[in-house]
Symmetry: D2
Subunit: 275 residues, 4 copies
């Protein structure tokens, strides 16, 4: 067959080449490090960084990533991702399947605010690199979102007026700036944004930084691109997804719907009719 | 409506009750611990244990869980889970969606050997608690698998004759036994199983403990039930899934199939025919 | 590299060989039929049968499959699969992703009763082929389920005492038996089972055939193996999953949880504590 | 609890209200039609239209939808969606899970060309409604895509120079225009686009209408919004996804990776190093 003669087995293998892991008989290296050297010596968080980014983090970087991963690990069953995992776990599928459906919901709206906020911080930084001062950059960004009636990602929350995760993360970031481990550029940006939003708002609609804003600042300071920030958030939330799916599995419930029987969903459509 | 009058709003809320996280305005507690106390003070691995199991681990328990999570984090693109995530990442969906499809494949066959091995270790322990000595229990288990022509989960590998992850994990387990942090009962079981398999085998078909056997021993010693062991494996492998999906996204490829174009899948079916 | 020299490109292609579709430049054949002959001449239901089973159905077979597919297409938002798709659709992911998470929940418990009922009908048929009369076979099966406190799949429903889909499907099956299109063996089995269950039950716990029982009879009469019966059910329910995901997308809601805000999930766990 | 007193059970039920199906004890209506009236009398394709869009189609509309659904049902294992479903099916998960991962890949790039083409046809129509003649509108659209170096969705294919599905679908569309069942506006648009692309192209790079262009024309003529067109494509391709997952399940393979063992993925990353 002619097509077979044009493509070699090496072409086929190259189609699947990777710079992440080397797997050969009796050899497993992650980014060049033998797995037997990593086990017991390198933390799980550092392994995450290593696999995703290619090198081991410094202790300061590791501490910040760890804090971000801890912060987002759960936010309870009101979140669709968690509710989906819990319902799925009662349907006769594996924990892996229930987890899959949960994280599948962490899309642009439910899981993308952190990603969008990193992109926003990059955008502010570019304006500043081009000569705009930080407060003007923040005001511009806020104004542009207002003009197109968009949320500023990373600020405001449905029911936390002060998100309890904001201050500990900002404190860790401040410490890391002081220790020279990160530049602090994005910490300054996010604070300027928070102030710009505060100036615009009456008390009732004040929009404090939320968890997405605080973790986005961590990710921006660590050099994590916006889309990868979503990936790391997914890893973090996978912990809550697993915990909830497992709690539900242990309950023994079967086919759990969103509301308890005998409640049913009201029908609001076309009245009964004949063909 | 009668059904509404029988069910109260508290019934509805109770349908979604949880013992994992308390979420209220400006309050997020994981298993009773305020999130602001955890961030910066408790590791990601300990947070995993806390959310999934209800309490913080001891340092010895944490170290073993960390080692198991590091061990399983990746095994390259030959694995269907990783290949699926990589192909998905080229199809115009989010990283969360690509990750979801990857872990969705970690079913009974691809992700369940660890779970099955924990169950096997529990089974051996029960026989011993009932009076059977350890070598007899191991021989019984091996013989029963042989009789029904089943794999003994946790032993043997397609191309690792000596899995490089086996010894570091067993060494950590031995250290933990010596330090009194774990009982060592399951470490003894898994070694007895390995010996019983070795006695049965010629050199060519020797079945040494694999990564599933070694991590299953960790999970059994930590009191993790079989099904939850799968969940923790999924968390671990999610790191590799993310790393590979991200590497593929960065390549810019679109609609990556399993083999490089112009190769196509041969058709082996019914010859062309007319209606 | 030695491994490359052992495996040929034809081996690689053969790894992906299929008897379903032939795809070549300017040629697409489904099971041997040129796609241009099928379009406009063969129904979607017949295409389903063709692709899944290898040949076109007779008109009588097609009519039964069509009826089964219509019957199961939706059962409202109380079902986890539908609720999951609706919630997912508000999270900033594509319709395909929302559909995926919905059907991912159609597992052994939520989507497997039809599959289990086909297997049960096969089991009854085997007993009869071995000489047991139909009523005894039915009684045996019912008794065995009772002994292990298991549901008899295909019978009983949470809130339909008479499932409105039962009679139309049984009538179509009876017509097909009369027309000689199917054997009627499984129709007889399912009726005998229903009677055996009825004999055991007081009025309050009567267990009439449900939709899974009725469609399982269709699938068994059509020669569909149990597991594939689940696959066909998934195709059918995918229609409802799409309709609901789309209805929800059009509403414009964002991050829809299982219960309306400000309702939250009650926390029932460990009281607040310090590290 | 105060929040419970503010929200009523009816609020909870309304949160899940739907205009698609009415489900009550012994009653199932799809868009007002009792299910017992539909079974045996209404086709699966008409049920799809009914559930998704709210009313039954005319015979002419039904015929076009049926043709579009048949056309897209499969395109072989080179497609990531199909390959993913096949690999997943060997991993010890259900057919529903394997199907879920397959359709999860039908994202903006792999499954979105039809959706994008409907949007493009809407855009052309708007220009024409605003007074631009059809050839100018087509030229504008082509030019704009060229300027931003974007594909024109619905045209060109990796290896079909003449897609065998194009002509039968266009013929059915022409027939429907002649019979007065559809306006023909979008048929004219898509043909004008094809001509505009042809004028720009040398023979070697000619970009004929592909399956996405042809089905998008069907969907546009039927009044299907762009995003829903993707949903209908997903339903169609679900058939191929099921057929392939089932073929693979029957093979008995376990943990099928993308390339046959002993082939492995080459490692292209960092050389071996020590901590």
């Amino acid at each position: 067959m002619s097509e077979a003669s044009e493509t070699t087995v090496d072409d086929v293998r190259d189609w699947w080449s990777t710079g992440i892991s080397e797997i050969a008989p009796n050899l497993i290296n992650f980014r060049g490090y033998p797995i037997q050297d990593l086990i017991g010596h390198v933390s799980f968080v550092d392994t995450i960084w290593l696999l995703v980014r290619g090198d081991l983090p410094t202790p300061g970087q590791s501490k910040l990533l760890e804090a971000a991963l801890v912060s987002s690990a759960d936010h309870g069953p009101q979140a669709p991702s968690i509710a989906i995992a819990r319902m799925s776990a009662t349907c006769g599928i594996g924990l892996n399947n229930a987890m899959a459906s949960g994280i599948n919901a962490l899309g642009d709206v439910h899981g993308g605010a952190g990603q969008a906020c990193v992109a926003l911080l990059w955008d502010m930084k570019q304006r500043m690199d081009a000569g705009t001062n930080i407060d003007d950059a923040a005001s511009q960004v806020v104004q542009e979102h207002k003009t197109r009636r968009a949320y500023v990602p990373g600020f405001g929350h449905r029911f936390h007026t002060v998100d309890p995760r904001r201050d500990p993360l900002l404190n860790l970031l401040d410490d890391a700036v002081e220790a020279g481990e990160i530049s602090g550029d994005y910490v300054a940006c996010v604070r300027a944004l928070e102030q710009a939003l505060g100036r615009r708002s009456s008390h009732a609609t004040r929009l404090p930084m939320n968890i997405d804003g605080a973790t986005a600042t961590v990710y921006a300071e660590l050099g994590v691109p916006p889309e990868l920030a979503r990936g790391l958030f997914v890893l973090s939330r996978s912990v809550g997804v697993l915990a909830h799916a497992w709690e539900e599995k242990q309950s023994g419930r079967r086919i759990k719907g969103p509301i308890p029987p005998p409640l049913t969903a009201p029908y609001t459509g076309q009245a009964e009719r004949t063909l």
